[in-house]
Symmetry: C2
Subunit: 144 residues, 2 copies
DNA sequence: CCTCTAAATAGAAATGAATTCGTTTTAGAA
DNA sequence: TTCTAAAACGAATTCATTTCTATTTAGAGG
């Protein structure tokens, strides 16, 4: 049992079940983002019984509690990835090979302030994501 | 027939059909973002026959060509809004009343440059959206 | 170690937003 | 006016995601 993941789960107020730990392990080993069904297919080998709804439910809960992150994908399907950087930051995601890279600073806190001040509203969250082709994929001229 | 919208369609290389014009008129009159089905229900009154797929198709095409914009909504359903600002900019969307407000500068072009340079990839697009409660909704303490 | 219970999971079934497809209609160029 | 590629119809379908009820289990408390 991976103690880091167990601690992360406890910190999030979630029970450290074998399936949750396996989801985290698998996603951490993954070089990029993955879909619930992809993870499920691969996780099934490690468990006698594992339901797809369980994978969906856990991925969503883990992303709610900040242990995992979600990709905003053009095809509007769900994808998740593991990022151990606990600072506030954002990501560059490769639409070809699914690699995810950190974007250190976003400077959006200032923007939030400004928007609040100017329009009188309250900014609850922001989405910032860069989409493109990573170094390797750009070189290969891949477009998928 | 609204000449502005007809021109916009022609500029996008799309035929100026009555239904497309009606979609643009309705969405321009809308104070916030709307879903394809909502627009369809209201547009049906103005046409003997109007298919929901037609509304979906046109909204998507119009957003592809930049005449309309899309909301990234937490519920992952499709919403579109009309914005006549042709400069590159982003939006603050109210999750309660659906109002959309412009965010003038995003400063992301510089970030794109930096990411390209540091990681060697190519940034094809970026998503920036602030979610929250607009002035009116924040005051009313509304949470929906 | 046990016990106990709220939380987690199974798995079949349902959901419903979005899309497909073959046919019919139409915008607009010629 | 004619003609054709583009647009629209709309019933049917898709399929990613969620719901639901019964069953299992993690882990707090003894
Ligand atoms: Mn990261
Ligand atoms: Mn705008
Ligand atoms: Zn890549
Ligand atoms: Zn509002």
């Amino acid at each position: 049992m991976d103690q880091r993941h167990a601690s992360a789960l406890k910190a999030a107020g979630m029970k450290a079940t074998p399936k949750r730990l396996a989801i985290l392990e698998m996603l951490e080993a993954e070089p990029g983002y993955a879909s619930p069904e992809e993870l499920w297919k691969r996780l099934k080998d490690r468990f006698d019984r594992l339901g797809l709804p369980t994978v969906y439910r856990n991925l969503e809960e883990l992303s709610q509690s900040g242990v995992l992150s979600k990709v905003i994908h053009p095809n509007r399907q769900l994808y998740y990835y593991f990022c151990s950087n606990r600072e506030h930051h954002h990501h560059f995601v490769c639409l070809s090979c699914r690699k995810v890279e950190d974007i250190p600073a976003c400077g959006i806190e200032a923007l939030e302030q400004e928007v609040s001040k100017r329009n009188g509203g309250k900014v609850l969250s922001h989405i910032l994501q860069l989409n493109g082709l990573c170094g390797g994929c750009a070189d290969n001229g891949e477009k998928r």
